[in-house]
Amino acid sequence: MSVNLKILRYSPKEGKRYDTFEVPYQRWTTVLDALLYVKAYVDHSLALRYSCRMASCGSCGMLINGKPRLACYTKISELNSNEIICEPLPNFPIIRDLATNFDRFFTNHKNMMPYIINEKTDRKMDDIHREFIQKPDEVEKYLQFSYCIKCGLCYAACPTTAMDKEFPGPQALAQMYRYMIDSRDQASRKRLEIIDNRHGIWRCHFAGSCSNVCPKGVDPALGIQLLRSYLLGFSKKGEEKAVLYISSH
């Protein structure tokens, strides 16, 4: 069996063009396998980013037949097409061919302060071992959102991100919810102030495309709507705080 792999090639000097390669495949061949076949045996100059090959690192995100997917997680056989079109993720600047630049995406993520802020955890005090004890239901509130692998598929699928450069995107907003709802965190108000502006959370119109493409079941749309419910006053963060456990070495 063989399939035509149509790949968008881009270089700053030559601009955009499509190259088509005929690639043999088996029932289990993934799009990443096919791309690596092209790179190994047909055209070494093909540029793409990949690493783990098992949907854990989130490096090989690309537009496959018009939809953002992980190349390592998409089997050719499941696409039911004789032609597979591979393009770089939209809404990310293209470096070359299928490799895109994630600087803005990661900056948005960092702007959300993706870490626990709690006065009681001063990491300079090395002689004291501190940990928070959380109940299972407290963990369940954020666990789903902590599975994000930052592959950028949600960012590529979002119609608001497509229009608004300053919109932080579904990934960043879902991460904001992940830390805001954590019972160890004390900076809810500070966090909400970051996204409560005209290019912030109010620009999400719940198209749900981010959750549709997420390969890890993070469901960013759910996180964003739940986060918004706090801003609108429909929900309140529980008074329950994680218990601090301190022990000397």
Binding site: Y10, P12, K16, G66, K67, P88, L89, P90, N91, F92, P93, I94, I95, T100, N101, E140, K141, Y142, L143, Q144, F145, Y147, A157, C158, P159, T160, T161, A162, M163, K165, C204, H205, F206, A207, G208, S209, S211, N212, V213, C214, P215, K216, G217, V218, D219, A221, L222, G223, Q225, L226, R228, S229, L232, F234, S235
Partner: protein
């Protein structure tokens, strides 16, 4: 590096991402449509200040087949936009989405649950019914 932002094409495409994306697309278009109708309506009704003859002339424009088709579409747009808007009002306030939990393969997103999908279909059905009723009144004259 080449900026690869989709721009307006991003929200003009209703397919590939399931029913909620289609509802988003419809919500936007019906919103634009209603805005255009509102402006046209203001222009039309403002003709009343030019006297009865001008007003009757303007009114005649809406009493044509094309005028009735446009009004039928406006009824549909209005009902869908309102009904889906109520769904969005609750969903964007975190209601009807379910509780976050451990994601399990095949990772069906909670936010795109059957309740939400049913509400979208109900909005479409209500709009279709309202259009049929409106058309029967307008064309039955």
């Amino acid at each position: 590096m080449k900026e690869n932002r989709e721009g307006i094409k991003g929200w003009l495409r209703p397919y590939k991402y399931g029913l909620p994306r289609f509802a988003y697309w419809l919500q936007r278009w019906t919103g634009v449509g209603l805005l255009v109708y509102f402006i046209a309506h203001v222009i039309e009704t403002s003709n009343i200040v030019n006297g009865k003859i001008a007003w009757d002339k303007m009114l005649e424009l809406t009493q044509t087949t094309q005028g009735h088709i446009i009004l039928t579409l406006v009824i549909g747009m209005c009902v869908f936009h309102a009904a889906n808007g109520v769904r969005l009002y609750f969903a964007e306030g975190g209601k009807g989405l379910g509780k976050a939990g451990r994601p399990e393969y095949p990772y069906n997103p909670l936010s795109l649950n059957n309740k939400m999908k049913a509400c979208i279909w109900v909005s479409i059905a209500l709009a279709a019914l309202a259009m049929m009723y409106g058309a029967s009144i307008l064309f039955g004259e």
